[in-house]
Symmetry: C2
Subunit: 424 residues, 2 copies
């Protein structure tokens, strides 16, 4: 007979938890036999004292065992998924999933909603009229067969322990633990049942992990968990000190994603989409298709339309537009020097694009358009940012968010590579 | 506007909490505006990252402010209290409170119940027929005027934050934090309103803090909190590697306490009672009375009878006796070498003297009598311990608890002083 206090005090005192202890505590927490106040104390002890690789792999397996995995049998294409740790303007999932499907793989992408200054993929897609996020496991399977691409909410039975624990960590100051983040992400990805996974692990001001070292540690830990569970996992470490593309905000990002799928769109979004697609395809052995060509051919856009339509969306309908658009102008001639991702994300959030609490709605039309990127030559009076909102009173605090964080300088900044490293 | 997550993450990241943060979080927790799972995460962060002296004093004051203090106005004797951190066979409060009252001070002793291997003063007194633990603040005041001695349960309004937090810490592995222990004890003692306090801080196997260094740290912290709040506080550091006296168990300890009050009783219990009484009296300026003489005169026993009667108890009635008494005998001639306090406490607990959960009842008659003390000469077959219980099936596991922890050796152990240090 184990008790919660025994498991908590073991971790508190710096001991390594056994598989049996981890299995017991996750299962008991899922069944409400371990209380929230016990799990939050354990989570804080894990955050401060860490977990070994073995403990983290055990923790992940115990979370997976709390529910049912998706059944992807009967799908004859190779299955592959991606996960991004989240950033400002990171809409890459939107063009990437149909692109990879158009290249011949099947992509079961179970996504989340945004909280804080980074957006959520489901929130973005919900700005498309008619589109619905919730599918049954059977609907997911059928759509993977027919279209090859699904972006939807996690199904109810998928890793219930993570859903509970994630909500708890959010209110108890226990989010920022590398092993807990890694096991939360990987438990869902493993339960999805794809045969390969590519991680986009971000660092920089707009990322969850601002520090490259910590981001690398997280990437390594997730690759190890994938390997321990038979899921081939690779990772790209990518820069998130500047927003991705121009659009930050739900409908604005959908519009930008459509442009990418039509062979247009900002070069950084296109480059990262293509790089991730190539890595995903390589990891399931598809090496005879060039994603950049598939984008240019229009095939990826066709798959996008089929994917959106399959979930009730009307892909060609007008997207919501904001009532008020206000421009922030350059105060002097020079180069755009800094365009801080976190500040821009916060501004978009304050304009209504994000939520403070998970039960709040988001404003699909709200957000920020970045009209210049670092290094661009600008002249005094030229608009640098466009603030989109349906509530004019929110503009002042959005401007405040970017003060001293969007700067013009006589000299350009040193260029930084978008993709810093590839791990596998 | 503060949030619980801000306060938790500040402590998690090793920062010092401000008075405003501490006041807010304790008040909000008392009002249920901060949830149990948030407070337990904070408690774990406090346990692992510590609190400064100032933070601990602030924490204590915020706890006191959560309720009402006792009003001891109108009592013309000097008021003084004691607190023991708890040990096996530690019945000292029982003879000490009436003794100090018989010497001319008034003692408002708000006590607790036992949990784990150490007994609780209220559980012990409840083995006296008719005695009741719950008094109103007005009853306490009146009894302090008439008798000068009260031992009772904390009143409802006294430090409600501590009651909530103590129950939470008990189930979340966050008991063993020196600042949280110190603030829990001192908040109640300061709220009691006495003008001086003497602490009996125990170390050794049967104590809560087994290590002398940690016990000293706790004593120092409590003295500092007392000083910061105008409560003159002194401490004795006393050895708890061997049970105090012979009796361990509720009615058994009451009987031994009565013997002490009649001028009899084991020498260690008498010595510690007298030493604590002298320190308490000195701390309120009473220096013309000798507690040892007051014990011998029978005056302390009279005060005991008056104190018990005032709370409905019948002090001369027979105490509950156990149906079964089983003796553990010495296996060889020699000296009793080890009599491990924790093992004996655990044996008494297993015989029914303690509770596993706070809602459980205790068996007043159950317990252990130690018939020899370390250093005593014993012969093979001589009874060393008497196990008292109403449930014969419990004896085997009680014997198991003391295996290899009560030993006979050809040579006697080195004698150790009961009182190791005095701090003020």
């Amino acid at each position: 007979m184990m008790t919660a206090v025994e498991v908590i005090t073991a971790k508190r005192d710096g001991k390594t938890l056994s598989s049996a202890q981890i299995n017991w505590v996750i299962d008991a927490y899922t069944r409400d036999a371990v209380a929230d106040e016990q799990m939050s104390a354990l989570a804080m002890a894990v955050l401060l004292n860490g977990m070994t690789g073995t403990e983290t792999a055990d923790w992940t397996r115990a979370m997976i065992a709390s529910g049912q995995c998706l059944d992807l049998s009967g799908i004859d294409r190779p299955t592959v998924d991606k996960h991004s740790t989240g950033g400002v303007g990171d809409k890459i999932t939107l063009p990437l999933v149909p692109l990879v499907a158009a290249c011949g793989a099947a992509v079961p992408q179970l996504s989340g909603r945004g909280l804080g200054h980074t957006g959520g993929t489901l929130d973005k897609l919900e700005s498309i009229p008619g589109w619905r996020a919730r599918l049954t496991p059977e609907e997911i399977r059928r759509q993977l067969v027919s279209v090859g691409a699904v972006i939807c909410a996690p199904t109810d039975g998928l890793v219930p322990a993570d859903r509970k624990l994630y909500a708890l960590r959010d209110v108890t100051g226990t989010v920022e633990s590398v092993p807990l983040i890694a096991s939360s992400i990987m438990s869902k990805k493993i339960a999805e049942g794809a045969s390969a996974l590519v991680l986009d692990v971000k660092f920089g001001s707009g990322a969850f992990m601002t520090d490259l070292g910590r981001a690398t540690e997280l990437a390594r830990m997730m690759i190890d968990i994938g390997r321990a569970n038979g899921l081939a996992t690779r990772a790209l470490l990518t820069d998130m000190s500047v927003p991705l593309g121009a659009a930050v905000g739900n409908a604005l990002e959908v519009a930008e994603s459509r442009a990418v799928l039509r062979g247009e769109g900002p070069p950084d979004v296109v480059a990262l989409t293509v790089a991730l697609a190539e890595t995903m395809l390589a990891s399931v052995g598809i090496d005879d298709v060039r994603p950049a060509e598939v984008l240019a051919s229009g095939a990826a856009y066709e798959t996008w339309c089929a994917m959106i339509s399959a979930q009730g969306g009307r892909p060609e309908d007008r997207l919501p537009e904001a009532k008020y658009i206000w421009s922030l102008e350059a105060s002097q001639d020079g180069h755009l020097f800094e365009l801080d991702a976190r500040a821009v994300g916060l501004a978009a959030w304050r304009l209504g694009a994000g939520r403070a609490r998970k039960e709040h709605p988001v404003d699909p039309a709200a957000g920020v358009l970045c009209l210049a990127k670092p290094g661009d030559r600008v002249v005094a009076g030229q608009p640098l940012l466009e603030f989109h909102t349906n509530d004019q009173t929110l503009i002042a605090s959005a401007v405040e968010a970017v003060m001293d964080k969007v700067t013009v300088s006589p000299i350009p900044p040193a260029p930084t590579p978008l993709i810093r490293e590839r791990l596998s």
